[in-house]
């Protein structure tokens, strides 16, 4: 299954801009951009993203809390999530995987390779799912 429709949840405007450029212009993905976890929850059902890119550290509702709420929405349980975070110690990656994340993109990331990094995590997920 080809990856086309991605939702980005990121509170930092500079990161939102460069991620949008990397994924839309360079990667050719259709991207829905949300600046808060609540916005992601509000838009989720109408957007039906194939994949969610979720920042971990956000004010009010952080990434893990947003993920927990998304999972309760129709279709939310089955939608894979990749966390974007500066905290990428091994035990933390395992914690995110326990929450249901299929991968972690460490910050800072290279905007030039971001699309292929995401594509690789997506392909791995699809292969493992069978």
């Amino acid at each position: 299954m080809a990856l086309k429709n991605i939702m980005l949840v990121e509170d930092e405007p500079d990161i939102r801009e460069i991620t949008s450029l990397a994924l839309e212009e360079l990667g050719g993905f259709k991207l829905t951009v949300c600046s808060t976890g609540q916005q992601a929850i509000d838009k989720f059902e109408s957007v039906c993203p194939q994949l969610i890119l979720l920042d971990v550290m956000m004010p009010q509702m952080d990434g893990p809390m947003t993920l927990a709420k998304l999972k309760k929405l129709p279709g939310g349980e089955k939608t894979p999530v990749i966390f974007i975070t500066a905290k990428v110690q091994t035990h933390e990656i395992k914690e995110y995987q326990k929450l249901g994340a299929i991968g972690v993109i460490p910050k800072p990331f290279d905007p030039i390779t971001l699309s292929s990094d995401i594509q690789a995590l997506w392909s791995k997920y699809i292969n493992e799912r069978g």
Binding site: E12, D14, I15, E17, L21, M57, A86, P108, I112
Partner: protein, 109 residues
């Protein structure tokens, strides 16, 4: 390759980098300014949380926009101040933080 430069032929990406680069000085100034205020105020968890978030955010964005050296300096500061979101630093630790904040500068050479 100078700091902040990325291998790309994307005009839009270059424009975005230029915009970020232009705004970066004021963001660094803001960290210096916030720290100068925090030094003289009584320790306050909310203020330290906000400062930590400010540093954390800039660590990620500077690195992503190609300012690797600055991002490393910010990360060093971020790691050092993290415990003091929960408890007040000692005088020595305040001095150390001042040193780390003082090191923050944009290398445009």
């Amino acid at each position: 390759m100078r700091e902040g430069e990325m291998h790309t032929d994307s005009v839009k990406l270059t424009e975005l980098l230029n915009k970020f680069s232009k705004d970066l000085e004021s963001k660094i100034f803001q960290i210096h300014h916030d720290w100068e205020e925090m030094k003289i105020l009584p320790w306050n968890k909310e203020i330290w949380e906000e400062f930590y978030r400010e540093v954390h955010t800039l660590t990620g964005s500077t690195g992503t926009y190609g300012f690797k050296d600055l991002s490393k300096m910010l990360q060093e500061l971020e790691i050092f101040i993290k415990p003091y979101v929960q408890k007040e630093p000692s005088e020595e630790e305040y001095v150390k933080i001042s040193g780390l904040v003082g090191k923050l500068q944009i290398n445009r050479s």
